[in-house]
């Protein structure tokens, strides 16, 4: 049980790491999903310009590595605007912006997966387009995309590990500290992998519960 002893010995670092990773994931998830929802509506909008902006955004953020994006935000804020940005904030911005691109595509596919007849039936009853979106289309879309969305959230938690490259004290960073102070290369990584797994597995289970709740009408 050498590994457990190692974990207990360096518990404080892991705790800070867990807290930071959870905060970073949670806030990015909230910001990324909200922004993603907005982007998906722009992408489906009738206005060509809005559509083009949204499409360009999505393509760029999906087409470049998160590690590059995080460095660009962190160093770019200093080079371009002279702002000495807090590394956590920089990571939060980069992860949120990145996740938004993926979430936008998931929500768009969800909206498009709802039968066109649903839209027509709702409008024919005299409901406005925003009422139709809110009460008819989105509830069905969310049900359809929940598995994909859960997947994206799991990916997001794992991807936050990149934040360690700009010095954010997250789980990954904690394991590096433990590696160098304990002179052990392998065990700290096993610990950190286990903790990431516990986080992502709990989230998957949570999404599973939600999926079952939403399947009441099947």
């Amino acid at each position: 049980m050498e590994i457990l002893e190692l974990f207990v010995e360096y518990k404080q670092y892991y705790m800070i790491g867990i807290k930071t990773t959870i905060m970073l994931s949670l806030f990015s998830l909230i910001i990324g999903t909200s922004l993603g929802g907005l982007l998906s509506l722009l992408r489906l909008s009738k206005f060509r310009l809005l559509k083009a902006i949204s499409t360009a955004y999505i393509e760029v953020f999906r087409g470049t590595p998160m590690m590059v994006q995080i460095a660009l935000v962190y160093f770019g804020s200093y080079v371009l605007f002279g702002v000495d940005m807090n590394s956590f904030i920089a990571a939060l911005i980069a992860v949120s912006l990145n996740s938004a691109a993926y979430v936008a595509e998931i929500i768009r596919s969800g909206i498009q997966s709802v039968d066109k007849g649903q839209w027509e039936a709702s409008r024919s009853l005299g409901l406005s387009s925003s009422q139709t979106m809110k009460y008819i289309i989105l509830p069905q879309a969310i049900k359809n995309i929940l598995p994909a969305l859960g997947n994206e959230f799991v990916t997001l938690i794992k991807e936050t590990a990149v934040a360690s490259t700009i010095g954010v004290l997250d789980l990954m960073h904690a394991s590096k500290i433990v590696q160098s102070s304990s002179y052990k290369a392998f065990d700290p990584l096993v610990i950190v992998a286990a903790i990431y797994f516990v986080l992502t597995f709990s989230l998957s289970k949570l999404v599973g519960v939600l999926e079952r709740r939403l399947s009441y009408s099947d």
């Binding site: 649903q118 039936a121 005299g126």
Partner: protein, 240 residues
């Protein structure tokens, strides 16, 4: 009540409606018949503005649909539409399907809407299904719920777009009966249908369409028993 003037509709290059003029008076039941692809459904969908006419005007009670802008929602509240594939909301119970629009549009309180829905379900003989989800209903039941959903808004006009075409044969009768009962109450109705017996019995007037044009229109008895245009004669000889 409904007036269509010089209506043209193109899908890309293809013209699906050619210079349509028609009028439906209050309380009148008009059946639209014709071969598939003749533009019947497109015409009825234009009347609910689910399709935007390429040119021409449609007036509902004197109000021009195309110039209604944001008032289109208000106008549509007076027009009920029944679809071939029912389009019930699968994530809502039967009762919620019926009460949703009256509540959201502010037309009724929740209590009023529910009372109204229960009345409608009683007349459709479907009260026991009020807490079911659409997924568990038969096609005939779904379509009767869809009709109830439209009627809950207390519309002045009801449009039926091949309401029985997607049903199993043994369920067609129950839906036609509901439509017949509705016609008797004096509802203004436009019915796209392949049920010739129904058109003959219930419609005041029948319009025969082919290739995007109104070929012939007359009272039901005259059109079925004494058709004039060769295309009408040919069509009727195939379906009767």
């Amino acid at each position: 009540m409904i007036k269509v003037e010089n209506l043209n509709k193109f899908f890309n290059e293809k013209q699906v409606l050619k210079n349509i003029n028609m009028e439906v008076k209050e309380g009148e039941v008009v059946a639209l018949i014709g071969p598939s692809g003749s533009g019947k459904s497109t015409l009825i969908r234009c009347i609910d503005y689910l399709e935007e006419p390429t040119s021409g005007d449609i007036y509902i009670n004197g109000k021009n649909l195309a110039k209604s802008g944001k008032d289109i929602d208000k106008l549509r509240q007076n027009i009920g539409m029944v679809f071939q594939h029912f389009n019930l909301f699968p994530h809502k119970t039967v009762l919620e399907n019926i009460t949703l629009a009256p509540i959201l549009t502010g037309r009724m309180s929740k209590k009023e809407a529910e009372d109204k829905a229960i009345d409608l379900l009683k007349t459709m003989d479907l009260l026991d299904k009020k807490d079911s989800y659409p997924g568990s209903l038969s096609g005939g039941q779904k379509q009767r719920i869809a009709i109830a959903r439209s009627l809950a808004m207390e519309p002045k006009i009801m449009l039926f777009d091949e309401a029985t075409s997607a049903l199993d044969p043994e369920m067609v009768g129950e839906v036609l009966k509901v439509m017949k009962d509705l016609a008797v109450t004096g509802m203004t109705m436009v019915v796209v249908t392949h049920e010739m017996a129904f058109a003959k019995e219930v419609a005041d007037r029948v319009i025969f369409m082919a290739e995007g044009e109104i070929v012939e229109e007359n009272t039901a008895v005259e059109l079925f028993e004494n058709p004039q245009n060769p295309r009408t004669i040919e069509f009727l000889s195939k379906v009767l």
